[in-house]
């Protein structure tokens, strides 16, 4: 870690056990990814980019229920670009940090510290050709898998560790009903068994006797009796006397110790079974039960850390419910459990801690991963960004590229300008991000960390001429922010001094290459100074039915009076982004371009998504 990064050190670092890093090699979509993690993981990315494969990679290391047969992968699991002749290895390495503060977790993980850093424990899965096989592997049988720790193959991971630092997969959430319905797999089972163990035998016998009476009463109804007799004789007829199973119609097994197995969850004050609940409610019930099971396992000292993996937990949940449930899971959770979810839900992404976000992106036949775990921003900046990414704006996290702008007017006009240039930003997956000021750097770090192409539209802000224009330092800071998360060289003091001395033309030309687009006046002035655009805007404004002051002003501007750009754009911003864009698209003749630096900023991103 360079000294510049230390001030961003995450506050909870070292205080609690957590997933700290994941590396994958040659597995399915992934040629090579190495990402920092911050405990919880929210995997975002387009369909088929490999979100489930990444979850499976983690399960290869940790899932105690995964059978050896599942860990024995297939040759088709190698990344497509692998040359099998070169004997590639599929590798998954999962690093834990912060375990030293909990003595039970330390006892489990201490043997697996890595040589380079004793505060990190690494658990690994490797699938590779068997040493005795000559030539490229012909089938899965020519390969073997090993699971080990500490970066040392001779340190196998004991099953006890996988039991105690365990991963639970809630895959088909859509089958919540099925999970709750089967006794063997139900998360209710251990909880019920525990609760029933606290009831004395005599009381259970009494309940059994009551139920038996109820059953007798039921059997006494002639129609029920007839049904039961019919069924019994039917079975007897089929099976013969020696194989008869003595079938009965009952509310519950007569054996007091089995009685509780027929207990199940009911909803709506006991009126309906869980099967009749909406899918969403059943999912919430299932997640709640899973968490209760984890807590119970920890209380019983069967577990020391739980990782709950859920694929698309938003399925069937109304956005409000999503917000409530995931806010609890992420932010009010137990320090001894973490959540790994895949999601397409902006609502979920908005409540997730920003540092949990991992973005997967297909690039040139491989999927790359971008993590915000180590996003080098101050806690205040982090708060700002998290506030910014409210439910409506968290689409940013799902975009393919971003244009950063200073204010509302730019945000409103940018999609219209893009349409005028023939680009549909929505279709291209490009977000316009209004930073409401000039503090671009945290957002630039965010976009660069997520691997998004981005451009910044900002003003030169020349001041009075005695000092360098503010736009210079701002641009250089933006570069440094980008460089700090993408492994590029930050600017030296000497380089900065040279740039400070340059003029607008040279400076803005040079920085266009890096995606910073400067305007020597202000955005407002350049819009007012683009005649075709001004006319169109005035036409649209005239149709708005503004009050008398504004109406008069518009009329004066039409009559060639000098336009007050700030007033003009205040009115534009009041129209609203969507409507304005549609109107301009209709009215602005195609090819009537927006100001040049804005067009360049749009093209910069559009060409790179």
């Amino acid at each position: 870690m360079t000294s510049g990064e230390t001030k961003y050190r995450i506050a909870w670092e070292g205080n609690v056990v957590r997933l700290a890093r994941l590396s994958i090699r040659n597995f399915r979509n992934f040629e090579a990814i190495d990402i920092a993690l911050a405990g919880n993981v929210v995997l975002l990315g387009e369909n088929r980019v490999g979100k489930s494969n990444l979850l499976f990679a983690i399960r290869l290391v940790l899932d105690p229920t995964l059978a050896d047969a599942a860990r024995q992968l297939k040759l088709s699991d190698f990344w497509d670009g692998c040359e099998l002749a070169k004997g590639p290895r599929i590798e998954v390495h999962l690093d834990f940090a912060g375990f030293d503060t909990d003595e039970a977790q330390a006892a489990l993980l201490t043997d697996f510290r890595i040589a380079g850093d004793p505060t990190i424990a690494r658990l690994s899965y490797v699938f590779r050709k068997k040493p005795e096989v000559g030539g490229p592997p012909q089938s899965s049988a020519d390969c073997e898998f090993i699971v080990y720790g500490g970066g040392d193959e001779s340190r196998p991971i004991p099953s006890r560790l996988r039991r105690r630092i365990a991963l639970d997969m809630l895959d088909a959430l859509r089958d919540a009903e099925g999970q709750l319905g089967s006794w063997r797999n139900s998360p209710l089972r251990p909880l019920l068994e525990d609760a029933i163990a606290g009831v004395d035998h005599a009381s259970l016998e009494a309940v059994a006797a009551d139920l038996d009476r109820a059953t007798k009463a039921l059997e006494a109804f002639p129609t029920v009796k007839a049904l039961e007799d019919g069924l019994r004789s039917g079975i007897l007829d089929l099976a013969g006397k020696t194989h008869d199973i003595d079938a009965r119609l009952r509310f519950a097994p007569a054996d007091p110790l089995r009685l509780f197995r027929s207990i199940s969850m009911f909803i709506d004050n006991g009126k309906r079974g869980i099967a009749e609940a909406s899918l969403g409610s059943a999912n919430v019930a299932l997640i709640a039960l899973k968490l209760a099971e984890f807590a119970w396992r920890r209380a019983k000292n069967e577990r020391n850390y739980s990782l709950l993996c859920i694929e698309e937990p938003e399925a069937h949940l109304h956005p409000q419910l999503q917000r409530g449930v995931f806010d609890k899971l992420f932010n009010a959770g137990d320090p001894n459990q973490a959540l790994i979810v895949t999601s397409h839900s902006p609502t979920l992404a908005a409540v997730a801690p920003l540092r949990a976000i991992v973005h997967l992106k297909a690039q040139g036949g491989r999927t790359n991963a971008y993590s915000l775990a180590n996003l080098p921003v101050t806690p205040e900046d982090l708060d700002d960004i998290e506030r910014y990414l409210t439910a409506t704006r968290s689409e940013l996290l799902f975009s393919r590229g971003v244009i950063f702008v200073e204010g509302d007017a730019e945000e409103t006009l940018m999609p219209a300008f893009a349409d005028a240039l023939g680009y549909n930003l929505d279709r291209l997956g490009i977000s316009v991000c209004n930073v409401a000021g000039v503090n671009f750097t945290p957002y630039v770090k965010l976009a660069a960390s997520l691997g998004f192409p981005f451009s910044v539209v900002t003003d030169w802000d020349p001041l009075d001429g005695t000092k360098p224009p503010l736009g210079i330092a701002r641009t250089l800071d933006i570069w440094d922010a980008y460089a700090s998360v993408s492994g590029r060289e930050v600017l030296s003091a000497a380089q900065r001094a040279r740039w400070d001395a340059s003029d607008f033309a040279a400076f803005s030309k040079a920085w266009e290459q890096s995606g910073v687009f400067l305007n020597d006046q202000t955005f407002e002035v350049s819009v007012a100074n683009t005649p075709a655009l001004l006319g169109t805007l005035l036409d649209i404004l005239s149709e708005q039915g503004f009050g008398s002051v504004r109406t008069k002003r518009i009329a004066a501007w039409r009559a060639d009076m000098k336009v007050d750009p700030a007033q003009l754009l205040a009115m534009v911003a009041d129209i609203g982004k969507g409507r304005l864009s549609a109107k301009i698209a209709r009215k602005l003749p195609f090819g009537q371009h927006p100001p040049g630096y804005i067009a360049a900023a749009i093209r910069f991103v559009a060409d790179r998504v």
Partner: protein
């Protein structure tokens, strides 16, 4: 994992003895002073089992450090009866193996420059070579490097913490010698046995996270035979327990401290006893010996102790055999007269002949051979060294092959886990375990009904197991030469070969009298014991008389011998030339 019923029974057993019961229930630092036959091992194992069930929560565990592998094996067996297996939760082993497997192997690689990547334990020859090279670097004279090293070794064992002024303050030339020697070993990627606790001590002292990691895994540290364990262990205990937050449960008896030559010092145990933060419990009951023998033992020690026999226990008997003639005559007398009489009253495996040095064992062995009395030797010249894990593994394999496979005694699973520990030091991958397993089962099965004698079976053992295993071994404490040594000693050309089933009964077998040095007899007990060669001039010897410390230790050694029997003690010496301590013992035994 643990067997609650067995533990409950063991706790009930101890309830009648207030000190034992208090020790087992103790939750703070605790030292149990345990005289001969006082149920020390039972107290220790019950305390460990209770601690694992009640105090220490899975996945954390306890560590138990013992004097040697033999004690470790004994403790493992006793704990297994309480349902506790030596595994991730319970470490049982010597201070060297604790240092190596729990500190150096897991963590040294995290400390760059501390040790070479692929180090192993130096052989005797390699140590000697390093001593000679270091000597030539530090001293410019023609004396014997190994004589000088004797002094250096003593300093090395004593000055564990080299940051103290003593290290360079006294005998700085020896400090240079030691450092040059260690540097020479490292240059060759070697460590020696004394290095293990020293390196571990420095790692623990300098790195708080290692201290924390050890405490996380083992919140309680048990130490058996504290008086024999020396300075390195003592410093480790001070660091881990009194500075590092582990809880200490130590057991010992300063009267039985007989390992001064390996750096032990009874004062270390006394210094623990003197601490205000340690609870001291003295076990006063001697459950082993008759009252007569207990009284005599006070004479042997030359000091009074308030040990009491069990109520209603028989008094026991003392016999003084003065033999007219030299040591050979004394040995023959034992073979002809003394032993046959004892064998009429006691099964052979309950009778032991104890002596000071292995060469005396040769005399007795010859005398018993002449009378065709079967025996098992447990001294330095024994065919199978009780303290060698490899030797005991070989013996176990022989037992399996000669019939043990039928009733799984020993079980193959145990042999396999012993093999894993020998080859990999405990940790191995599944593939490695499978390979070991198939090699081992193939070898074992091929020996069944093959009619091989021990020598030829051992040669095959060497070819089929040792050769491939030593090539892949990761256990830095290889002792593979033990196998070839046994093969050499059973060479038919030397008349040493025996049937495999006889070899197989060497340790556990019944029907054999035990021959043992006094040192090796420590911790063991028999119905009847013959002390052989208790002559003036031998006990104490000239050498013992050189320093008061050595003289006291020799006397404690005699005391250890006297306290072994339950019922009968026979002391054999030259007529008119008994050891002065035998005389004192006699006088004391005559008092009430």
């Amino acid at each position: 994992m643990s067997n609650h019923l067995a533990l409950a029974r063991a706790l009930v057993d101890l309830a009648a003895n207030a000190e034992q019961a208090a020790a087992v229930q103790e939750r703070g630092h605790c030292v149990v002073l345990a005289g001969p036959g006082s149920g020390k091992t039972k107290t220790l194992t019950t305390a460990m089992a209770r601690c694992l069930v009640e105090d220490v929560v899975d996945p954390r565990g306890v560590a138990c450090i013992t004097y040697n592998n033999e004690c470790a094996i004994e403790l493992e067996t006793r704990l297994a009866a309480l349902g506790i297996a030596s595994n991730d939760r319970a470490f049982i082993g010597t201070v060297h193996s604790f240092a190596l497997t729990q500190v150096i192997v897991p963590y040294a690689r995290c400390l760059p420059g501390l040790l070479p990547d692929e180090f192993r334990v130096a052989s005797r020859a390699e140590c000697r070579a390093a001593v000679e090279i270091a000597y030539s670097q530090v001293f410019d004279d023609q004396f014997d490097p190994h004589d000088r090293w004797g002094f250096a070794e003593e300093k090395r064992r004593r000055d564990v913490d080299r940051s103290r002024p003593d290290w360079r303050g006294c005998n700085p030339e020896l400090a240079d010698f030691i450092e040059a020697y260690e540097a020479e070993l490292r240059r060759r990627s070697l460590i020696d046995f004394d290095d293990m606790p020293l390196i571990a001590f420095r790692m623990i002292q300098q790195h708080g996270w290692i201290r924390a990691a050890l405490r996380a895994r083992f919140p309680v540290l048990f130490v058996d035979e504290y008086q024999d364990l020396g300075y390195a262990l003592h410093e480790l205990v001070l660091l881990l327990c009194f500075a590092g937050g582990m809880r200490l449960f130590a057991v010992g008896d300063a009267d039985q401290s007989i390992y001064g030559f390996t750096g032990a010092d009874p004062e270390l145990l006394q210094s623990l006893v003197a601490r205000a933060d340690v609870r001291v419990l003295r076990l006063r009951f001697n459950y082993r010996s008759g009252a007569k023998i207990i009284r005599a033992s006070m004479g042997a020690l030359g000091e009074e102790r308030d040990y009491r026999g069990r109520d209603g226990a028989p008094d026991g008997d003392l016999f003084f055999w003065k033999v007219i003639g030299d040591i050979d005559t004394q040995a023959r007398t034992i073979g002809n007269k003394i032993l046959p009489v004892l064998l009429e009253r006691h099964p052979a495996e309950e009778v032991a002949i104890l002596y000071r040095a292995a060469w005396l064992g040769d005399k007795i062995a010859a005398a018993l051979d002449a009378k065709d009395i079967p025996y098992v030797r447990t001294d330095g010249n024994a065919l199978i060294k009780r303290s060698s894990r490899l030797a005991r593994f070989i013996e176990g394999c022989a037992r399996w092959t000669t019939g043990g496979w039928r009733e799984a005694n020993p079980p193959f699973a145990r042999l396999l886990s012993q093999a894993k520990a020998l080859v990999f030091g405990g940790r191995s991958s599944d593939a490695e375990e499978q390979m070991l397993s198939s090699q081992l089962i193939a070898f074992l099965r091929s020996g069944i009904d093959s009619g091989e004698t021990t020598h030829f079976w051992l040669q095959r053992f060497w070819r089929e197991l040792v050769t491939p295993w030593r090539a892949i071994a990761r256990n830095p404490q290889g002792e593979w030469d033990v196998c070839s040594e046994i093969a050499t000693r059973t060479d038919p050309a030397r008349g040493g070969d025996i049937a495999l089933n006889i070899f197989a009964g060497r340790i556990e077998g019944t029907g054999r009298v035990s021959l043992s040095t006094l040192h090796s007899a420590k911790g063991r007990e028999f119905d009847a014991v013959i002390l052989f060669g208790m002559n003036a001039g031998a006990l104490p010897s000239q050498r013992d008389r050189k320093t008061p410390t050595a003289l006291r230790e020799a006397r404690r050694l005699f005391y250890v011998g006297v306290t072994r029997p339950r019922k009968e003690l026979a002391i054999v010496y030259q007529d008119g030339n008994p050891s002065p301590w035998v005389v004192e013992l006699y006088k004391r035994s005559q008092q009430g």
